[in-house]
Protein backbone atom coordinates (compact mmCIF):
# COMPACT_ATOMS: atom_id res chain seq x y z
CA UNK A 1 0.00 0.00 0.00
CA UNK A 2 1.27 3.47 -0.86
CA UNK A 3 1.46 5.38 2.36
CA UNK A 4 3.67 8.21 1.17
CA UNK A 5 2.67 11.36 2.96
CA UNK A 6 0.20 9.42 5.03
CA UNK A 7 2.81 7.66 7.07
CA UNK A 8 2.56 8.80 10.66
CA UNK A 9 6.08 8.55 12.13
CA UNK A 10 5.43 6.63 15.33
CA UNK A 11 2.36 4.86 14.07
CA UNK A 12 0.02 6.90 16.23
CA UNK A 13 1.03 10.47 15.50
CA UNK A 14 -2.56 11.33 14.67
CA UNK A 15 -2.90 10.82 18.42
CA UNK A 16 -5.60 8.24 17.98
CA UNK A 17 -8.02 11.16 18.06
CA UNK A 18 -11.59 10.25 18.94
CA UNK A 19 -14.84 12.16 19.03
CA UNK A 20 -17.89 12.54 21.24
CA UNK A 21 -21.11 14.34 20.39
CA UNK A 22 -23.79 16.30 22.19
CA UNK A 23 -27.07 17.15 20.51
CA UNK A 24 -28.69 20.57 20.85
CA UNK A 25 -32.45 20.26 20.40
CA UNK A 26 -35.44 22.53 20.88
CA UNK A 27 -38.11 24.28 18.89
CA UNK A 28 -37.55 26.58 15.93
CA UNK A 29 -35.86 29.85 16.88
CA UNK A 30 -35.06 28.86 20.46
CA UNK A 31 -31.34 29.55 20.05
CA UNK A 32 -29.77 26.22 19.09
CA UNK A 33 -27.35 27.64 16.53
CA UNK A 34 -26.66 30.63 18.79
CA UNK A 35 -25.50 28.27 21.55
CA UNK A 36 -23.32 26.31 19.11
CA UNK A 37 -21.78 29.54 17.81
CA UNK A 38 -21.09 30.79 21.35
CA UNK A 39 -19.00 27.81 22.45
CA UNK A 40 -17.59 26.40 19.21
CA UNK A 41 -13.88 26.66 18.36
CA UNK A 42 -14.85 27.00 14.70
CA UNK A 43 -17.46 29.10 12.93
CA UNK A 44 -20.53 26.83 12.84
CA UNK A 45 -20.77 24.74 9.68
CA UNK A 46 -23.77 23.19 8.01
CA UNK A 47 -24.12 19.63 6.80
CA UNK A 48 -27.09 18.66 4.72
CA UNK A 49 -29.09 15.59 3.88
CA UNK A 50 -31.42 15.21 0.96
CA UNK A 51 -34.54 13.30 0.25
CA UNK A 52 -34.32 12.51 -3.42
CA UNK A 53 -36.45 10.79 -6.03
CA UNK A 54 -35.54 7.44 -4.54
CA UNK A 55 -37.50 8.47 -1.46
CA UNK A 56 -40.51 9.67 -3.40
CA UNK A 57 -42.83 7.47 -1.37
CA UNK A 58 -41.62 9.00 1.85
CA UNK A 59 -41.82 12.44 0.32
CA UNK A 60 -45.43 11.85 -0.46
CA UNK A 61 -46.23 10.68 3.05
CA UNK A 62 -44.89 13.83 4.63
CA UNK A 63 -46.74 16.05 2.23
CA UNK A 64 -44.03 17.42 -0.01
CA UNK A 65 -44.86 15.30 -3.03
CA UNK A 66 -44.48 18.22 -5.41
CA UNK A 67 -40.76 18.44 -4.72
CA UNK A 68 -38.09 16.24 -6.25
CA UNK A 69 -35.51 17.08 -3.65
CA UNK A 70 -35.89 18.21 -0.05
CA UNK A 71 -32.87 19.49 1.82
CA UNK A 72 -32.56 19.38 5.59
CA UNK A 73 -29.71 21.12 7.35
CA UNK A 74 -27.79 20.38 10.51
CA UNK A 75 -25.68 23.20 12.01
CA UNK A 76 -22.70 22.09 14.03
CA UNK A 77 -19.59 23.26 15.81
CA UNK A 78 -16.75 21.64 17.70
CA UNK A 79 -14.71 22.05 20.85
CA UNK A 80 -11.23 20.62 21.29
CA UNK A 81 -11.43 18.87 24.67
CA UNK A 82 -7.76 17.86 24.59
CA UNK A 83 -5.23 16.60 22.04
CA UNK A 84 -7.06 13.32 21.64
CA UNK A 85 -10.70 14.18 22.06
CA UNK A 86 -13.00 16.43 20.05
CA UNK A 87 -16.54 17.32 21.13
CA UNK A 88 -19.03 17.94 18.31
CA UNK A 89 -22.20 19.90 18.95
CA UNK A 90 -25.08 19.37 16.55
CA UNK A 91 -28.06 21.69 16.42
CA UNK A 92 -30.90 19.43 15.32
CA UNK A 93 -33.24 20.60 12.58
CA UNK A 94 -36.61 21.76 13.83
CA UNK A 95 -38.32 19.23 11.53
CA UNK A 96 -38.11 16.15 13.75
CA UNK A 97 -39.62 13.99 11.00
CA UNK A 98 -36.37 14.28 9.07
CA UNK A 99 -34.04 13.08 11.80
CA UNK A 100 -33.97 9.59 10.31
CA UNK A 101 -31.93 10.95 7.37
CA UNK A 102 -28.81 10.93 9.52
CA UNK A 103 -28.79 7.25 10.51
CA UNK A 104 -30.20 7.79 13.97
CA UNK A 105 -28.93 11.22 14.82
CA UNK A 106 -28.96 10.63 18.58
CA UNK A 107 -27.37 7.20 18.61
CA UNK A 108 -23.97 7.42 20.25
CA UNK A 109 -24.54 10.91 21.64
CA UNK A 110 -23.42 11.57 25.21
CA UNK A 111 -26.70 13.37 25.74
CA UNK A 112 -28.72 16.38 24.67
CA UNK A 113 -29.53 19.92 25.67
CA UNK A 114 -33.16 20.86 24.97
CA UNK A 115 -33.45 24.63 24.67
CA UNK A 116 -36.73 26.19 25.73
CA UNK A 117 -37.92 29.71 25.01
CA UNK A 118 -40.02 30.54 28.08
CA UNK A 119 -42.27 32.76 25.95
CA UNK A 120 -43.13 29.78 23.72
CA UNK A 121 -42.84 26.66 25.85
CA UNK A 122 -44.88 24.56 23.44
CA UNK A 123 -42.34 24.93 20.63
CA UNK A 124 -40.00 22.55 22.48
CA UNK A 125 -42.58 19.91 23.47
CA UNK A 126 -41.78 17.72 20.46
CA UNK A 127 -38.04 17.79 21.16
CA UNK A 128 -38.59 16.74 24.79
CA UNK A 129 -40.92 13.93 23.71
CA UNK A 130 -38.32 12.70 21.23
CA UNK A 131 -35.56 12.63 23.88
CA UNK A 132 -37.80 10.62 26.18
CA UNK A 133 -38.87 8.27 23.40
CA UNK A 134 -35.29 7.65 22.24
CA UNK A 135 -34.05 7.42 25.82
CA UNK A 136 -31.47 10.19 25.37
CA UNK A 137 -30.38 11.78 28.68
CA UNK A 138 -30.96 15.53 28.59
CA UNK A 139 -31.07 18.79 30.50
CA UNK A 140 -33.50 21.64 29.89
CA UNK A 141 -31.88 25.01 29.18
CA UNK A 142 -34.15 28.05 29.44
CA UNK A 143 -32.85 30.62 26.99
CA UNK A 144 -33.38 33.97 28.68
CA UNK A 145 -34.42 36.45 26.01
CA UNK A 146 -34.39 40.16 26.89
CA UNK A 147 -38.18 40.32 27.03
CA UNK A 148 -38.69 37.01 28.81
CA UNK A 149 -40.60 37.38 32.02
CA UNK A 150 -39.20 35.65 35.10
CA UNK A 151 -40.54 32.15 35.48
CA UNK A 152 -39.86 30.10 38.57
CA UNK A 153 -38.05 26.96 37.43
CA UNK A 154 -40.55 24.71 39.21
CA UNK A 155 -43.46 26.30 37.39
CA UNK A 156 -41.76 25.65 34.07
CA UNK A 157 -40.85 22.08 35.04
CA UNK A 158 -44.52 21.57 35.77
CA UNK A 159 -45.65 23.10 32.49
CA UNK A 160 -43.15 20.95 30.56
CA UNK A 161 -44.18 17.87 32.53
CA UNK A 162 -40.65 16.60 33.08
CA UNK A 163 -39.49 14.51 36.01
CA UNK A 164 -37.75 16.14 38.96
CA UNK A 165 -34.36 14.54 38.39
CA UNK A 166 -33.91 16.34 35.07
CA UNK A 167 -31.95 19.57 35.60
CA UNK A 168 -33.52 22.84 34.42
CA UNK A 169 -31.06 25.72 34.05
CA UNK A 170 -31.51 29.30 32.84
CA UNK A 171 -28.89 30.67 30.45
CA UNK A 172 -28.14 33.17 27.71
CA UNK A 173 -27.30 31.41 24.42
CA UNK A 174 -25.34 34.43 23.19
CA UNK A 175 -22.93 34.20 26.10
CA UNK A 176 -19.97 31.80 25.84
CA UNK A 177 -19.53 31.15 29.58
CA UNK A 178 -23.27 30.77 30.08
CA UNK A 179 -23.56 28.31 27.17
CA UNK A 180 -20.52 26.38 28.40
CA UNK A 181 -22.17 26.09 31.83
CA UNK A 182 -25.19 24.42 30.22
CA UNK A 183 -22.88 21.79 28.70
CA UNK A 184 -21.21 21.35 32.10
CA UNK A 185 -24.65 20.90 33.71
CA UNK A 186 -25.36 18.15 31.17
CA UNK A 187 -22.09 16.32 31.93
CA UNK A 188 -22.79 16.54 35.68
CA UNK A 189 -26.25 15.11 35.02
CA UNK A 190 -24.72 12.25 33.01
CA UNK A 191 -22.25 11.56 35.83
CA UNK A 192 -25.06 11.48 38.39
CA UNK A 193 -27.03 9.05 36.24
CA UNK A 194 -23.94 6.86 35.84
CA UNK A 195 -23.31 6.86 39.58
CA UNK A 196 -26.88 5.66 40.14
CA UNK A 197 -26.44 3.00 37.46
CA UNK A 198 -23.20 1.79 39.05
CA UNK A 199 -24.63 1.55 42.57
CA UNK A 200 -25.10 -2.01 43.74
CA UNK A 201 -28.75 -2.81 44.34
Amino acid sequence: MDLKGFDHPDGAADGGTRSVKIMIAGGFGTGKTTLVRSVSDIKPLTTEATLTQASAGVDHLIGVADKQETTVSLDFGKIGINDELVLYLFGTPGQERFWFLWNGLFKGALGAVVIVDTRRLASSFRAIEEMERQDVPFVIALNVFPDSTEHPVEEIRDALDISEHIPVVAFDARDRASSRDVLIALIHHLKDRSAVALEPR
Binding site: M1, L3, K21, A49, F90, A109, L110
Partner: protein, 124 residues
Protein backbone atom coordinates in the same frame (compact mmCIF):
# COMPACT_ATOMS: atom_id res chain seq x y z
CA UNK B 1 -41.99 27.40 -6.00
CA UNK B 2 -39.08 27.93 -3.66
CA UNK B 3 -35.69 29.35 -4.56
CA UNK B 4 -32.90 26.81 -5.05
CA UNK B 5 -30.78 26.32 -1.95
CA UNK B 6 -27.50 26.26 -3.79
CA UNK B 7 -27.59 28.60 -6.77
CA UNK B 8 -24.07 27.63 -7.85
CA UNK B 9 -25.16 24.02 -8.19
CA UNK B 10 -28.30 24.01 -10.28
CA UNK B 11 -28.20 20.31 -11.10
CA UNK B 12 -27.93 18.73 -7.64
CA UNK B 13 -29.85 15.57 -8.37
CA UNK B 14 -28.04 14.81 -11.62
CA UNK B 15 -24.69 15.49 -10.01
CA UNK B 16 -25.41 13.16 -7.08
CA UNK B 17 -26.62 10.48 -9.44
CA UNK B 18 -23.36 10.61 -11.35
CA UNK B 19 -21.24 10.73 -8.18
CA UNK B 20 -22.78 7.64 -6.68
CA UNK B 21 -23.45 5.74 -9.88
CA UNK B 22 -27.15 6.00 -9.14
CA UNK B 23 -26.92 4.51 -5.67
CA UNK B 24 -28.83 6.21 -2.91
CA UNK B 25 -27.45 5.82 0.54
CA UNK B 26 -26.97 4.99 3.22
CA UNK B 27 -28.57 1.72 2.28
CA UNK B 28 -26.70 -0.92 4.18
CA UNK B 29 -23.25 -2.33 4.77
CA UNK B 30 -20.48 -0.03 5.92
CA UNK B 31 -22.36 3.16 5.02
CA UNK B 32 -25.22 2.49 7.38
CA UNK B 33 -23.08 2.72 10.51
CA UNK B 34 -21.52 6.08 9.69
CA UNK B 35 -22.35 8.83 12.14
CA UNK B 36 -22.09 12.58 11.50
CA UNK B 37 -19.43 12.63 14.25
CA UNK B 38 -17.50 9.61 12.92
CA UNK B 39 -13.88 10.60 12.31
CA UNK B 40 -12.43 9.63 8.95
CA UNK B 41 -8.70 9.08 8.54
CA UNK B 42 -7.03 8.33 5.21
CA UNK B 43 -4.98 5.14 5.14
CA UNK B 44 -3.45 5.71 1.73
CA UNK B 45 -2.64 8.47 -0.70
CA UNK B 46 -4.95 9.13 -3.65
CA UNK B 47 -4.22 6.77 -6.52
CA UNK B 48 -4.18 7.81 -10.18
CA UNK B 49 -7.49 7.34 -11.93
CA UNK B 50 -9.57 7.60 -8.78
CA UNK B 51 -12.92 9.34 -8.83
CA UNK B 52 -12.32 13.01 -8.05
CA UNK B 53 -14.46 13.00 -4.90
CA UNK B 54 -12.68 9.92 -3.53
CA UNK B 55 -9.37 11.67 -4.09
CA UNK B 56 -10.64 14.79 -2.39
CA UNK B 57 -11.77 12.79 0.66
CA UNK B 58 -8.36 11.11 1.00
CA UNK B 59 -6.60 14.46 0.69
CA UNK B 60 -8.74 16.15 3.35
CA UNK B 61 -8.53 13.27 5.79
CA UNK B 62 -4.76 13.13 6.29
CA UNK B 63 -5.72 14.21 9.78
CA UNK B 64 -8.93 12.85 11.28
CA UNK B 65 -11.97 14.82 10.10
CA UNK B 66 -15.61 14.23 10.98
CA UNK B 67 -18.14 13.12 8.38
CA UNK B 68 -20.09 16.32 9.11
CA UNK B 69 -17.08 18.56 8.40
CA UNK B 70 -16.22 16.60 5.29
CA UNK B 71 -19.79 17.07 4.04
CA UNK B 72 -19.68 20.79 4.76
CA UNK B 73 -16.30 21.28 3.06
CA UNK B 74 -17.16 19.21 0.00
CA UNK B 75 -20.72 20.57 -0.28
CA UNK B 76 -22.11 17.04 -0.32
CA UNK B 77 -25.23 15.87 1.52
CA UNK B 78 -24.69 13.26 4.22
CA UNK B 79 -26.44 10.46 2.36
CA UNK B 80 -24.38 10.98 -0.81
CA UNK B 81 -21.13 11.29 1.13
CA UNK B 82 -21.96 8.08 3.01
CA UNK B 83 -22.01 6.15 -0.28
CA UNK B 84 -18.60 7.54 -1.30
CA UNK B 85 -17.13 6.78 2.14
CA UNK B 86 -18.48 3.23 2.00
CA UNK B 87 -16.55 2.70 -1.26
CA UNK B 88 -13.34 3.85 0.43
CA UNK B 89 -14.02 1.78 3.53
CA UNK B 90 -14.63 -1.33 1.44
CA UNK B 91 -11.34 -0.68 -0.39
CA UNK B 92 -9.59 -0.23 2.97
CA UNK B 93 -8.41 3.24 1.98
CA UNK B 94 -9.86 5.00 5.03
CA UNK B 95 -10.37 4.26 8.67
CA UNK B 96 -13.65 5.26 10.38
CA UNK B 97 -13.75 5.93 14.12
CA UNK B 98 -17.22 6.15 15.56
CA UNK B 99 -17.95 8.64 18.35
CA UNK B 100 -17.45 7.24 21.85
CA UNK B 101 -20.79 6.72 23.62
CA UNK B 102 -21.30 7.71 27.27
CA UNK B 103 -21.86 4.13 28.20
CA UNK B 104 -21.02 0.79 26.69
CA UNK B 105 -23.40 -2.16 26.71
CA UNK B 106 -20.66 -4.42 28.10
CA UNK B 107 -18.68 -2.10 30.33
CA UNK B 108 -21.43 0.24 31.53
CA UNK B 109 -21.05 4.02 31.97
CA UNK B 110 -17.70 5.54 31.00
CA UNK B 111 -17.02 7.86 33.95
CA UNK B 112 -13.43 8.54 32.88
CA UNK B 113 -14.69 9.85 29.54
CA UNK B 114 -17.22 12.15 31.24
CA UNK B 115 -14.46 13.48 33.54
CA UNK B 116 -12.29 14.14 30.52
CA UNK B 117 -15.04 16.11 28.77
CA UNK B 118 -15.83 17.98 31.96
CA UNK B 119 -12.28 19.16 32.53
CA UNK B 120 -12.02 20.21 28.88
CA UNK B 121 -15.19 22.29 29.18
CA UNK B 122 -14.06 23.85 32.44
CA UNK B 123 -10.95 25.15 30.69
CA UNK B 124 -12.99 27.00 28.06
Amino acid sequence: MSAPRRPTDPSGLERYYVLTGGRSGPGGGSASSLDVATLILARSAPAPGMQHEHEEILRRCRDPLSVAELGAHLGLPFNILAVLLADLLDADRIEARDPIPASDADRGPDLALLEEVLSGLERL
